[in-house]
């Protein structure tokens, strides 16, 4: 049973409850100009049920994504702290008792030591709550409309990503035939938001950060897509489900599945570097290079806007790791006792862990160097990878027909 089927059943149950409610509302008011009745009618149709089911599916995907977001941020902070020989945030669940005391009006107790002896996952909660309470500043000379639109574009396009990648073939909010293309399209909306908010802030640091971001993301789109093209060529589809199935189907020695990172190792390497640049993490975090550009294009954003920027970047990182998993690491494929969804998340977290290690152990590279790397090294490499795949898929089988070569690929 797929996620959509489950959502469909849930939707049928909900509709059974909702229709009488709407009909009751229709009875309260005169029938003309009251949409409640129409809504009730529409919900009963197939289209209405499907829409309802989609609503549920997307919400579940969103919730899973947001849970993962908190986990990823927590992982980043804790692993970074361990790399640096520290302990990282240690806010314990006991601190919630203070919250209880305050809510119930008891006398406050002060146990700092106990508050700071936990695993620290509540730190993200505290950061989030605080961000809501902060003042939202719009600089006096900023372009107010674009200043507001920038975060909307960036954050919505990032959150959109969450609905697009499947956790397994049965657990997908959407499994469009062109799924990966849509994901990459959503990925490339973000530079517009970055450029918009960088320009609208009326701040030189923001503007340079926005320009850098645009230049970097645009120049890395090309090798990124070219390195993906090999996988598409091999699978003959943009559909994540088909790509993962193809990886499972092609076997190697001892019948082991030949995931794409083995034949297309160059493509895998290029893709990992490009996606790292695409999600703007060290060593490619030039747009928010703290040393020279203060906070880059987010310099003028305060409060929840800034927090959402940060969250959206982690969502993009999570989505990037998910795409890498689908394309090269065999997606949700794995031995039986562990469910495929868990396999998928395990692989994603493995990549994220790898990124965190990179982030906290290398310096940042320079603007001109990043462009040189992108255009002069990664682009030719991705083309070579494409040539290899074309040889594998088209030319070698052609010759095998003529001269009876062994079927390797």
């Amino acid at each position: 049973m797929t996620l959509f089927d489950a959502c469909r059943i849930m939707a049928e149950w909900t509709v059974k409850v909702l229709i009488p409610v709407f009909e009751f509302q229709e009875g309260l008011f005169p029938p003309f100009s009251n949409p409640a009745g129409w809504v009730a009618d529409w919900l009963a149709t197939e289209g209405g049920l499907d829409t309802m089911a989609w609503f549920y599916a997307v919400n579940i995907a969103f919730m899973i994504g947001m849970t993962n977001l908190i986990l990823v941020i927590h992982l980043e902070r804790k692993v970074a702290a361990r790399i640096q020989d520290r302990r990282g945030p240690m806010l314990s669940f006991r601190s919630l008792r203070e919250l209880g005391e305050d809510l119930s009006g008891q006398a406050p107790s002060w146990k700092f030591k106990k508050n700071y002896s936990g695993i620290g996952i509540l730190q993200n909660l505290a950061d989030g709550i605080k961000a809501i309470t902060k003042e939202l500043i719009v600089p006096a000379k900023a372009d107010k409309f674009l200043f507001t639109m920038g975060p909307i574009i960036f954050i919505s396009s990032s959150v959109f990503l969450l609905a697009l990648f499947p956790l397994s073939d049965r657990f997908a909010a959407s499994s469009a035939p062109a799924g990966l293309m849509v994901i990459m399209a959503a990925f490339s909306i973000a530079p517009i938001g970055v450029l918009t908010s960088g320009w609208a802030s009326n701040n030189k640091y923001s503007m340079i950060g926005g320009m850098r971001s645009a230049a970097q993301l645009m120049s890395y789109e090309i090798p990124l897509l070219l390195s993906m093209a090999g996988v598409f060529l091999l699978a003959g589809s943009f559909d994540p489900v088909v790509i993962v199935e193809q990886q499972q189907a092609s076997t190697w020695f001892f019948g082991l599945p030949m995931w794409n990172f083995i034949p297309q190792f160059i493509g895998f390497a290029v893709f990992m570097i490009c996606i790292l640049a695409e999600v703007e993490r060290v060593p490619f975090d030039l747009p928010e290079a703290e040393a020279e550009l203060v906070e880059g294009w987010t310099t003028e954003y305060s409060g929840i806007r800034y927090m959402l920027f940060l969250a959206a970047e982690y969502i993009r990182g999570f989505a990037g790791a998910a795409v890498a998993t689908i394309l090269f690491l065999g997606g949700w494929a794995g031995p039986w006792p562990v469910p495929p969804e868990i396999w998928f998340l395990l692989k994603v977290y493995l990549i994220l862990l790898f990124w965190i290690f990179i982030r906290w152990s290398v310096p940042r590279i320079r603007t001109d160097q990043i462009l040189v790397l992108g255009w002069k090294k990664l682009l030719p490499l991705s083309l070579i990878n494409l040539l290899i795949v074309i040889f594998m898929v088209e030319i070698y089988p052609y010759f095998t027909e003529i001269v009876n070569l062994p079927e390797v690929f």
Binding site: A80, I83, Q84, D85, R86, K204, Y205, I208, M211, V282, P283, D285, L286, A289, E290, A291, E292, V294, W360, S361, V362, P363, R364, I365, R366, T367, D368, Q369
Partner: protein, 364 residues
Amino acid sequence: MAEMWISMGPQHPMTHGLWTLKVKVDGETITDADPELGYLHRSVEKMGERRKYFMNTTLTDRLCYASSTTWTHNYVLTVEELMNVEVPERAKYIRTIMLELQRLASHLMWAGAYMPDLGHITGALYFWRDRELFLNLLEVPSGSRLLYNYIRIGGVKRDLPDGFVEKTERVFKLFEKRLDEYADLFENSKIFRMRTEDVGNFTAAQAQNLGITGPNMRGCGTKFDLRKNDPYEIYEEIDWAIQTREAGPGYSDCFSRYMVRIDEMKESIRIIRDCFKKMPKGPTLASAIPVRAQGEAFRRTEDSRGEALMYVVGDGTDRPYRWKIKSPMFTTISACPHYLKGYKLADIPAIMGSIDICIGETDK
């Protein structure tokens, strides 16, 4: 993109202190620069004229927050020359040990502050972790973590406590092991080399004319170290060598300046070990220390950042008539348009970080 001025500071992660760097950029390329100081001008020189000679060590301690002992020592050396005070032999050794420990702590502070400039926060925390070792060592005889007030006119405040030598040796063993580990993380790292090599170049002749001294000058291959070239305390009797590096014939880049400081740290350890071997027994404070002074005197010492020079004029009272401080960073910052021009905006932190800025001494 048209040319524009960008103002960095006084609150900016690049500045490592309070100063403003205005750069004119054409796209991302720097075409002009204009440093501005004075946000931390505390008028130490004027205040010194109101205080007695021995009170001024409080102010000199706070001159440079990363390397306070070297400045106190410079002042004390100058005043001792002015007053003709003979310092006991053991005090000289202890002073040398403290100076070199301070140099280690200061260079570690610099290395820690330099890493975030290149986007490497882990490096900062590693170096600061090691700096803590040396702060603990400095705390043992002086009783304070950062501003020691340990070197006094006529000697040092008190003798080294028991077990100091063994503790120091333990720290050195650990630190040397870690320095070897860090070589893989920093100087052998490809990205670190990409960021630092061939960036912020200046030649030796330029450095001498513009007043860039200390490790920055030795990064050009110039063999000039005041510990050897104008010896004070017991540097003559100790077995050590001037550390130089050069990026090419007669010029330095950020990487050579980085390496000079790493080498100097290793050399400091050698000096301290030698001091422990040769240290005699005896008193640590001169018996008779005058209060008044007449005449003028100046001494220069090798601060962690370059040539430190103090010039004191006494008029026969117990307070200095004029007290002038020469900070090596003052002239180095003034020369920054010369070594910033032509590089990228992203190189500014890499360059300005590599010259080791300390605004406390610069603004006085």
